[in-house]
């Protein structure tokens, strides 16, 4: 089989928008919704996921020739769990307050289907350099999505962003937004917006193409 031509820049950029893990592939939803009730929590969680994804992609990609196919999934899970434990204890030591708020959701990074999905679909097949670029792009896209959702929910739900008040005293917090239903509704609306932008962009490109043919 001929090796697919790889372009490092493309592998990096695709995760941010075109194949964004959250908005397009709808992976890793559980932590996505559970911890985005404030922008700060979203960032801590996003960075932890970033670390785990990049580190395990690097590890698995470098070990790809030694991992037997039959036991690969279990091995991936054990490698991911090791890095998650590292991240968990690091956050506990450096940011105890954030660790308390995120609670059980840091260990749950292990079962984030986005991470296992990237190992299976990409890191285990391609050279280390591209695997790391792909992981950075995907994790960046995830962080971007977390931040978008966390900011919207915090601004509407408490009227602050990173604990800095944005509105005057007259602002009545929309409490539902920081409660579970707000997570579902906000992500639903963001997805809707994403679909709309993608559709409009497609239409625009098509229009340009037909105009060019006319000339």
């Amino acid at each position: 089989m001929k090796q697919k031509e790889l372009d490092g820049y493309q592998e990096f950029v695709k995760g941010i928008w075109r194949e964004n893990p959250v908005f397009v592939q709808v992976l890793g939803m559980c932590p996505m919704l559970a911890v985005t009730n404030s922008a700060m929590n979203a960032v801590v969680m996003g960075v932890a996921t970033f670390f785990v994804l990049v580190a395990s992609s690097f590890m698995i990609s470098s070990l790809q020739h030694w991992i037997p196919r039959q036991v690969r999934i279990s091995l991936y899970i054990v490698i991911i769990a090791t890095f998650v434990t590292l991240a968990d204890y690091t956050i506990l030591a450096t940011l105890p307050a954030a660790h308390k708020q995120l609670g059980a959701f840091i260990p749950l990074i292990v079962v984030n289907c986005m991470i296992l999905g990237r190992q299976e679909a990409f890191a285990s097949r391609f050279p280390v350099k591209y695997a790391v670029l792909d992981a950075v792009g995907m994790a960046g896209g995830f962080l971007f999505a977390m931040l978008a959702l966390g900011s919207v929910r915090e601004i509407l739900g408490t009227g602050t962003l990173f604990d800095i008040p944005l509105f005057g005293k007259g602002f009545e917090p929309w409490v539902t937004m920081i409660l579970p239903p707000g997570g579902f509704l906000t992500l639903g609306l963001i997805l809707l917006f994403f679909n709309w932008v993608t559709k409009k962009r497609g239409e625009f490109l098509q229009q340009v193409a037909t105009e060019r043919e006319g000339l």
Binding site: V26, L27, M29, C30, M32, L33, A34, S74, I77, V78, A81, T82, V84, T85, D88, Y89, G103, A104, P107, L108, V110, V111, N112, C113, L116, T176, L179, P180, P181, G182, G183, F184, L185, L187, G188, L189, L191, L192, N195, W196, K199
Partner: protein
């Protein structure tokens, strides 16, 4: 006894795993298209949850007090092997049920509700009976949410009024949001009494 009932009802309704804790969303959004499959998946998940709760209790009591940093790795290994074991057992004992569950059985491993259950039970320091009740309640709650969602989605499909842009995950999420809002009503169940 009161305590056990409280744990069960809390996991079933007030702190529903799917609608309040956002655990197990992948199967919730992925498999909730048909009523029948969601019921089966719910039952299989409940079963794995109960086994996991028992194993987690044993691990916590006898092994992990000596090495707490191994918690995550040992839990995930236990869950993966339990699912594998149950798969083999069901295949041997009841091929019909095995066929009916199909691909959903191995996929239970990556359901975050299971690992979440083990971690929550540990963090709250539940004993054996409490852990078991918690697992039953959480499993029943997961099944309930899945069935409700499947019912709504089947009805929506019949209307054919949904615009193309909204169809798929966006609509499912908004429906889930409304369901979750309805479940918030249960929060008053205990504070009033």
């Amino acid at each position: 006894m009161d305590n056990l009932i409280w744990i069960f009802v809390s996991a079933l309704l007030v702190n529903n795993f799917v609608l309040a804790y956002f655990l197990g969303l992948c199967p919730f959004l992925g498999v909730s298209g048909r009523l029948e499959t969601s019921l089966r998946l719910g039952m299989a998940t409940t079963f794995v949850m109960v086994i996991t709760a028992i194993c987690a209790w044993f691990l916590n009591t006898y092994v992990l007090i000596h090495a707490p940093y191994l918690r995550l790795i040992s839990f995930i290994v236990v869950i993966a092997s339990t699912v594998q074991f149950i798969e083999m057992a069901i295949k041997k004992l009841s091929p019909a049920l095995f066929k009916a569950l199909g691909i959903y059985l191995p996929l239970i491993t990556t359901n975050c509700a299971i690992l979440g259950l083990a971690i929550f039970a540990t963090n709250r320091g539940y004993g054996f009976l409490e852990g078991l009740t918690f697992a039953l309640g959480a499993g029943a709650g997961f099944t309930l949410a899945l069935i409700l969602m499947a019912g709504i989605r089947e009805e929506i499909e019949k209307t054919k009024d949904v615009p193309d842009l909204v169809q798929g995950t966006a609509m499912n999420l908004i429906v889930a949001g409304i369901l979750s809002m309805a479940f918030m009503g249960f929060a008053g169940l205990f504070s009033a009494g």
